[in-house]
C-alpha cells in the first residue's frame, strides 16, 4: 500500500485486483491523455478524485506517482486456482505451455481490445478440471469465469502476460506484406 493524501491506496500486484489492473492498463493506453491526466484517472479508479488533489503541488503529485509506481517483488506463476469450489488448471508440470488452440482464442480476445481482456485471457488458460473442451471454450463460460477472475489479485495475471508476450513475440508469424519472388 502507498499513502496518498492520508489514505491507503493499493499499488502492489498482491494488493490490486485484476479489474483494477485492467482499468489502469486501459488508462495508460489512452494516447490522448498526458502523463498527469493518466495518473489522475488511475488514482480515481482507486478512490481518489481529481478534486482531492486541488491543493497538491506538482512536486508533491510527482512524489505520489513515484511512490505509487514503486512495485516490489516478482510474482510467481501459479498453475492452479480455485473459484467457487472448483479447481482450475492452466498447465501441468513445471513449464508453462501455450497450446495453439489457446493462442487462437487469446489472439481473438487481444484483438477485440476491450477492457476485460486480461481476465478473459486467464479464463481461456485456466480450465476447470471436470469440464470438456467444448464446455471450456464456450463463450458464456469464459465470460462467467472472467468475471470471477477479475476479483483475484493482479499478481496472478502479470507472469502470464510476460510469458505469453515473450512466446508470441518469438514464435508468432509476422503479418508482413507480400514480396515479389521470382
Amino acid at each position: 500500500m502507498v499513502t496518498i493524501l492520508g489514505r491507503d491506496i493499493p499499488n502492489q500486484l498482491s494488493e490490486l485486483n485484476i479489474q483494477q489492473f485492467e482499468d489502469i492498463t486501459s488508462i495508460h493506453a489512452i494516447n490522448e491523455l498526458d502523463a498527469i491526466e493518466k495518473h489522475l484517472k488511475v488514482f480515481e479508479v482507486l478512490g481518489l478524485n481529481e478534486s482531492d488533489f486541488e491543493d497538491t503541488t506538482i512536486e508533491q503529485f510527482k512524489q505520489y506517482v513515484k511512490e505509487f509506481n514503486n512495485i516490489k517483488g516478482k510474482p510467481v506463476m501459479q498453475s492452479t486456482i480455485e473459484l467457487e469450489g472448483y479447481n482450475y488448471t492452466s498447465f501441468e508440470g513445471d513449464e508453462f505451455k501455450l497450446s495453439v488452440r489457446d493462442t487462437k482464442h487469446i489472439e481473438k480476445v487481444l484483438n477485440s481490445k476491450h477492457k476485460g481482456y486480461l481476465s478473459e485471457m486467464l479464463a481461456i488458460l485456466f480450465k476447470r478440471d471436470d469440464l470438456t473442451k467444448t464446455e471450456h471454450y464456450d463463450s458464456a463460460h469464459i465470460k462467467h469465469k472472467a468475471k470471477m477472475i477479475r476479483e483475484l489479485k493482479a499478481e496472478l495475471v502479470v507472469p502470464y502476460l510476460v510469458e505469453i508476450g515473450q512466446k508470441l513475440a518469438k514464435q508468432m508469424p509476422k503479418d508482413e506484406p507480400a514480396e515479389v519472388v521470382e
Binding site: S99, R101, K167, P173, A178, V181
Partner: protein, 242 residues
C-alpha cells in the same frame, strides 16, 4: 508433416484457398488455417500442439507471404497464351469483369480467356480458337496447374490495361458520378446525376449497343471485333464528333 517448400508445389486451386484464408483477421489463427490446408490435416489436430512446435512448421511455409513468380508460361499443354494485342472486344470486357471482381478468385476464369486452343493454318499463321465458350465452364481446367506457371498473367494484364487506358484515356475519362449526398441539388442536377449513375452501371452494354446500331443481332459481330480496332474507331468518332 509433408509441407510444400515453395509456390512451385502449389497449384492454382490451393493458391485460391490460401488467399481466401487471408480474410481471417487474426494473424496467428490465419497462419494455422493455412498450415492446416497445406499439410492436409484438420486445424483441430494442430490446435492440440504447443505453439513452439507449430512455429517450427510455420517457418517452413514463410514463402506464402511472398507473391508467386511473375514468369508465367506461354504454353500449358494444349493451351497457348493469346497475345494481349490480339484480344477481341468481348474478351476484354470479360477480363475487365473478372479483374474488377476479385481477380484471385477468378484466376481460373482469367486463364480460361487468355489460354486458348490453337492451330496453324495452311499459311503458317497461328489461329486461336474463337471465343465461343463460357469461361465459367472452363475455369476448373486450370485448377491443377502450378500457380507459378499462371500467376504472372495478372501483372501482365494489369500492365497492358494501364497502357491501354492511358492510350484511350479520352474514352475512359468520363466524369465520375458525384456521390456527395450532403450537397443540395436542383431537380435537373439530380436527374443528370441519376442518368450518369445509370450510364456508369451499364457502361459496356451501352457501348456495345451503340456499336451495333441498336441491333441486338449484331452483338456477337461487335464483341468479336479486335479490341484495338474498336477503340481506334471510337476515338476517331469522339474526336471528329461523329
Amino acid at each position: 508433416m509433408n509441407l510444400p517448400k515453395s509456390w512451385n508445389e502449389i497449384d492454382l486451386l490451393q493458391f485460391k484457398e490460401i488467399r481466401e484464408l487471408y480474410s481471417i483477421e487474426e494473424v496467428f489463427a490465419r497462419e494455422i488455417e493455412i498450415l492446416s490446408a497445406l499439410a492436409g490435416v484438420s486445424s483441430d489436430d494442430l490446435e492440440d500442439l504447443d505453439v513452439s512446435e507449430v512455429s517450427t512448421l510455420l517457418k517452413d511455409i514463410t514463402f506464402i507471404n511472398s507473391e508467386p513468380s511473375k514468369n508465367y508460361k506461354h504454353e500449358l499443354d494444349k493451351w497457348k497464351l493469346k497475345p494481349l494485342s490480339k484480344l477481341t472486344c468481348g474478351e476484354f470486357i470479360d477480363l475487365e469483369y473478372f479483374f474488377a471482381n476479385d481477380y484471385v478468385k477468378h484466376l481460373g476464369h482469367i486463364a480460361a480467356v487468355m489460354y486458348r486452343q490453337h492451330h496453324t493454318d495452311q499459311w503458317g499463321e497461328l489461329i486461336f480458337e474463337p471465343y465461343e465458350f463460357n469461361p465459367f465452364d472452363r475455369y476448373e481446367l486450370f485448377d491443377e496447374y502450378c500457380i507459378n506457371d499462371i500467376y504472372g498473367i495478372i501483372p501482365e494484364y494489369l500492365s497492358f490495361r494501364e497502357a491501354f487506358m492511358d492510350k484511350y484515356h479520352l474514352l475512359f475519362n468520363e466524369e465520375e458520378p458525384d456521390d456527395d449526398e450532403d450537397q443540395p441539388m436542383t431537380s435537373e442536377e439530380s436527374k443528370a446525376q441519376a442518368e450518369k449513375k445509370s450510364a456508369a452501371k451499364w457502361g459496356w452494354e451501352r457501348l456495345i449497343y451503340s456499336l451495333c446500331n441498336e441491333d441486338l443481332t449484331k452483338v456477337k459481330q461487335v464483341t468479336d471485333l479486335p479490341l484495338v480496332l474498336t477503340f481506334n474507331m471510337l476515338s476517331m468518332k469522339k474526336e471528329l464528333n461523329l
